[in-house]
Amino acid sequence: VARLGASDRLCHYFRAVILALTLFFLYSASAWVMLRSATNPRLSPIAWALVVATIFGHSDAIVRMMRIDGPVSIGLLEALSLFAWTLAILACLLCIERQNRVLGSILLACAAFGAAVTGSGRTYAEENAPAGS
């Protein structure tokens, strides 16, 4: 069982904060560009590229959180992150039809808040660390 040192813990939290901020800004930007693309069709390719890149980034973060750090249990924060990922996929499907882009943008903005908690849950090492460490 891995014991987490102070530097490891600090590194984990630093990584989690960077990840949260990146995902939050990417989702927010996606929502904003998608909303603008409802009236300005020239922005559509940028909006789609941004959304797809954000979803890939989020998927990678979830897979790392669940596979590389160990088999974490799905707690409240992990559930919120997965919920945000599902919302983003649903928003993509809704945005295919131009008149639903406002709704899709609102869902992407909501996903930004859910994605901001990605990686901030307890890792496998933390869950299994002996008491007092």
């Binding site: 909303l35 409802a38 009236t39 249990s73 707690g75 409240l76 559930a79 919120l80 997965l82 919920f83 599902t86 919302l87 996929i89 649903l90 928003a91 809704l94 008149q99 639903n100 882009r101 406002v102 709704l103 609102i106 869902l107 909501c110 307890r122 869950e127």
Partner: protein
């Protein structure tokens, strides 16, 4: 998770419907966002989302009953009760829509109540057990 996302989207649509409806009733037509679809189109989207979410929720409950062996031991009793309550609410809403043509504010109220119940089932249950009672399980 898919059902919760679909029904969350339906709840967001319901809030949009109420906002648009209020502005129309107050005759504040200039305040209407130009990008939004008409009210009836938005309502159709809401009911499509509810129908899709209801199907997924039914599948989730059915598979849950197959795989769960001990409701009390796995701390799933609250989640199950609230999920079934949400399922009943959405079933009644869809029945009311097809049989009696429910729409407008009553449909919005049912949608928000149903999603609230489902949110308590999933997130509220986790919040109380993990954050307030400090219980973790696999």
């Amino acid at each position: 998770m898919g059902a919760t996302a679909l029904l969350f989207a339906a709840a967001v649509t319901a809030i949009l419907l109420v906002t648009l409806d209020r502005r129309l009733r107050a005759r504040r037509l200039m305040d209407l966002p130009p990008l939004l679809p008409p009210l009836d189109a938005l309502e159709r989207v809401m009911f499509r989302l509810i129908a899709a979410g209801f199907i997924l929720l039914t599948l989730a409950l059915l598979t849950g009953f197959i795989f769960v062996t001990d409701l009390l031991g796995q701390h799933l009793i609250h989640k199950t009760v609230f999920s079934i309550a949400a399922w009943v609410l959405f079933a009644m809403l869809l029945f009311g829509r097809t049989r009696y043509g429910w729409r407008g504010r009553s449909a919005v109220r049912w949608t928000l109540t149903g999603f609230g119940t489902l949110a308590i089932a999933y997130f509220g249950d986790k919040f109380i057990l993990e954050t307030l009672l400090g219980r973790h399980w696999g």
